[in-house]
């Protein structure tokens, strides 16, 4: 079904790829057309479209085309961590299949044929997460969420549908102010919400029972890369001994091992320069992502179960080292 919607996508004019296919534009179009689609899934779907339009003659040519497209995608998109999780997994999947069965052509056909299925699956995995995470929410809870996360929203909406009564603090999440859209969605569904500015988390944390955050990417250590502000919320939660749960799909597990936010690719460089001049849109150059290490995270609620940090690294190890 989703496949029929996505197939009309034709390569845009002025494309840069070898065969006239613009991977970045395709990726952007996916994200624009479906607000529910996550970045890694959009990346995977774009790569599938690419495969459907190329006719490689050898396995290594196939891998080559993929690698080029992935590099182009990572370069062309500002915030590439999340999408690189999808790309990495896709490449790894293709390589594994080629190694196991030798039949790269069958693998390509299989992927192209099932293009839309992945999107469905990705959405389904959010429902699964919501089901797994449901017992974490109890009557009379006060929950703090940060910014906007589809997985967290899905979980809270499910809890509300199951008649669990709870309240939610939502951070404004500057500079994107995505928290406002979370608040609207929750309120539209009858969940009482209080929006607070990011700086008010320390004020609110005493009244909070548990914290839920999403993730752009889950690193190999089990730490998470997420919308800026997550780290300071996690530190406050740890200090007050409140549990912090990360709600994220397993396709966001990414092969990165950052030690600090400065190890992340693509951070806005302007943010770490200092000037005596007044700048007009200084706030806009503020960093968008930060890194929260695993020792601040109580558990990760994913579609493959409720994991500890070593569960995450086990999944990544299984995928990459065999």
């Amino acid at each position: 079904m989703a496949l029929s919607e996505t197939t009309p996508l034709t390569p845009p004019v002025g494309s840069v790829a070898a065969n006239g296919f613009d991977i970045v534009a395709t990726y952007r179009r996916f994200l624009q057309e479906d607000p529910d689609m996550t970045m890694p899934v959009a990346a995977i779907e774009s790569l599938v479209i690419l495969l459907s339009q190329t006719e490689p003659t050898t396995a290594s040519e196939l891998m080559d085309i993929l690698a080029k497209a992935v590099a182009e995608l990572k370069k062309g998109v500002k915030n590439s961590i999340s999408l690189s999780a999808g790309c990495d997994m896709f490449q790894r999947f293709v390589l594994r299949n080629i190694q196991e069965y030798g039949d790269w052509e069958a693998c390509r056909r299989h992927l192209v044929k099932n293009g839309g299925l992945f999107l469905e699956r990705a959405k389904a995995s959010r429902y699964k997460i919501a089901e797994l995470g449901l017992p974490f929410i109890q009557d009379d809870d006060t929950i703090l969420i940060h910014s906007h996360s589809r997985a967290v929203t899905e979980l809270l909406l499910l809890a509300a549908r199951r008649h669990i009564r709870f309240r939610v603090f939502v951070t404004e999440s500057r500079p994107t102010e995505e928290g406002l859209s979370s608040a609207k969605t929750l309120r539209d569904n009858g969940i009482p919400v209080r929006v607070i500015v990011d700086g008010a988390v320390g004020w609110a944390i005493q009244k909070v029972d548990k914290v839920f955050v999403g993730a752009e990417g889950v690193a190999e250590s089990g730490g998470i890369i997420n919308r800026v502000g997550t780290y300071q919320i996690a530190v406050l939660a740890k200090d007050s001994n409140k549990p912090l749960y990360v709600v994220a799909e397993s396709h966001k597990f990414v092969r990165l091992f950052p030690l600090s936010p400065f190890d992340l690719p693509n951070e806005s460089p302007a943010a770490s320069t200092f000037t005596t001049e007044q700048e007009d849109d200084e706030i806009q150059s503020s960093p968008l992502l930060d890194f929260t290490s695993d020792n601040l995270i109580t558990a990760l609620i994913t579609d493959i179960g409720v994991l500890t940090s070593s569960g995450v690294s086990e999944e990544l190890i299984k995928m990459w080292y065999d």
């Binding site: 995977i44 997994m89 896709f90 999947f93 594994r96 196991e100 299989h110 992927l111 099932n114 299925l117 992945f118 699956r121 990705a122 995995s125 017992p135 974490f136 109890q138 397993s250 396709h251 597990f253 558990a299 493959i304 179960g305 409720v306 994991l307 500890t308 940090s309 070593s310 569960g311 086990e314 999944e315 299984k318 995928m319």
Partner: protein, 372 residues
Amino acid sequence: MLAAGAHISKEKDLNAHIEAFVAQIKRRQIQGSYNVALATSQLLLRVVSAARWTHIDQLVTQIKVLGKRLQSAQPRELACGNIIRRVLALIREESEDTNDSESGDGAINSPLITSMFSLLSTNDEYGPNRQSQSLSDSTGRSIKKDLKPYIIEGIQELIDELKSIDESIASMGVEMIHENETILTPTPNSRTVLKFLLRTAQKRKFTVLVVEVFPNDVEKTHEFALKLAEAGIETTVITDAMVYSIMGRVGKVILGTHAVLANGGLLASAGAAMICQCANVHRTPVVICTGLYKLSPMYPFDIESLIEVGDTGKVLEFEDGSLVDKVNVVNPLYDYVPPESVDLCITNMGGYSPNFMYRLVLDHYRQEDTTL
């Protein structure tokens, strides 16, 4: 006809036996998670021996129903459900093994192990529903006869494992305790810890501080101290309140558990949470000794519901009538100890960080059995 009659009477026998067992655990006549685990596995041995099934799913359902019944009879005794889940996993495994070897497509099914790839793989080739599929369609008629002895053998092995648990844990003592070390134990009602210390005392000389965990099981606690002292171990009994003052001189805290949960957290006798926290503050390592049968695939969503409350008469004498009426007396039997308070879990399968307990859960239980 005759055979069928014999079968019916046998079934009656078994039902009566199950009935009696349920009553026993309900009234707490079988006490301690070890005894419950052992009794449950022996019951399952009888159930499987007597069971007749045309399809393996029938056996699975039968055991699940039984498990549900046992669990509701004593919801806080997790060992019971754990053994049921272990046996279920065993049955599923046996039936899959047989299927794979018969249908010969096991090779195609197995390689894409990681669950993250489930996003990309599809039903027609390597579907995620493989397990339930194989259970439901491809079971050959011949399998049921082949399977039974294997399952029985599996349960028998489980029983043997249970019986040797304390031995395998105790053998790790020398790796844990050094000469002249001071050990503190806040769970002196634990048989596993007692054996662990007694066995280690044959090779090492050390001091044990026994915390009373008053008021429950205080007789047992004091007998525990007596047994240690009689075995030649330097033993000192202290009250619960003294733990903080002496923790700075303690080398390791060793505790037994009531149950270990999937996140590596555990239930132990009341006071354990505070004592482990105290050890954390003093940077004293906390080691737990536990048999695998105490490992539950559950996650501690609602901690209070897991904690049993005991007889308040042990806290305040009923003779204090005027007081008992006015004051709300509380006597919790267990404490929930969060995984971050624990440094090491010693099981009969070896020592693990609590962070890794999820792996043992995945190894021994099937996700589809988590809720019976």
